[in-house]
Symmetry: C3
Subunit: 138 residues, 3 copies
């Protein structure tokens, strides 16, 4: 059995947004007991992340590191027309994930105790983002 | 339904090569309407990337960043027998993806407007690279 | 056909541990000829990696690079309560993979000649880690 949904989300600009609570109901409604839940973000400046969802400082510190690894407005960039954050956003997307697959067991995504699923917006300004959710299993 | 193909590609050395046009016909020919398309690169110094395919400067700038994050010929490397680019190529592979899953809707990979699928060759010299394409769905 | 297993592993602390030999028997026993093998690590400070498994220096050098990209005990971190390695472990997890899908052909994971599958422990101390293995195919 295959079920497919489009999840449309509006972000408030750069930062990570937990979407676990929007994924689990889709799994439950599908009636799939065991299988997989695949997420795909249809953008090149936003990505997906499975991360600790207890202490928000974790995501603050990830921001600090990503800002070092893929600096905004780096003088070496050639792709600069869309602003200081655009090329950095592409690089952050490369270093994280656009595609993520989660196991489904007993009718829900089987995440670890501290794991949450996040959409990571890498642009400064708010954006509308689409995630394709594909569920399959039996 | 499961369909599997081996895509053999020859690269001209370091750089990213768009393969969207080689993936979509395999999806179409499979007759799968809704499902998933999985790609796996059978190498440890080449990887897969979903990235902006409009402005080639984006991929130029990604090269600039990857060269900083995983420098060629870094004096700290122990794995040096196969040349200055070899250990860097393994590290670039780790920081990107060997495995990538794309949603299939209406008989094609459902990519965003600006998304292309790329094979990323991390070695200086031309190589023959194999990608296993696994399609499943209904 | 869907088959699901939980693989429980004990690590001796930071480093990568090859698990190819624990995955292949699960594939063989499933009776699946062609399909996919999905791995998911249920933790936020350990990850999965497909990497060269011939020369152990490769993994030594990856450690060198990850220690630069996500330094232990960085003074900028706010998430420090669980030790100098904890925030670095979350960042290393983000830069690598919690989810990995491998193609199954002829009843086994179809890996390249030099590819091995590794659990990457990012904490200093030994930990018990769970990986959910989901096999599907025909």
């Amino acid at each position: 059995m295959i079920r497919q949904h489009t999840l449309a989300l509006t972000t408030d600009g750069r930062g990570s947004y937990e979407i676990t609570g929007q994924i689990q109901p889709l799994v439950r409604q599908s009636g799939i007991g065991a299988g997989l839940c695949h997420l795909f973000v249809c953008h090149t400046s936003a990505s997906l992340m499975v991360m600790e969802n207890a202490d928000p400082d974790v995501r603050h510190d990830l921001e600090t590191l990503l800002a070092r690894l893929a600096p905004d407005g780096d003088p070496a960039y050639r792709h600069t027309l869309e602003g200081a954050d655009d090329m950095a956003a592409h690089a952050r997307t490369l270093l994280t994930q656009v595609s993520l697959t989660l196991p489904v067991s007993d009718g829900r995504c089987r995440l670890g105790t501290w794991q949450g699923v996040f959409l990571y917006e890498h642009r400064y300004r708010p954006h509308r983002r689409e995630i394709i959710v594909t569920l399959h299993g039996e």
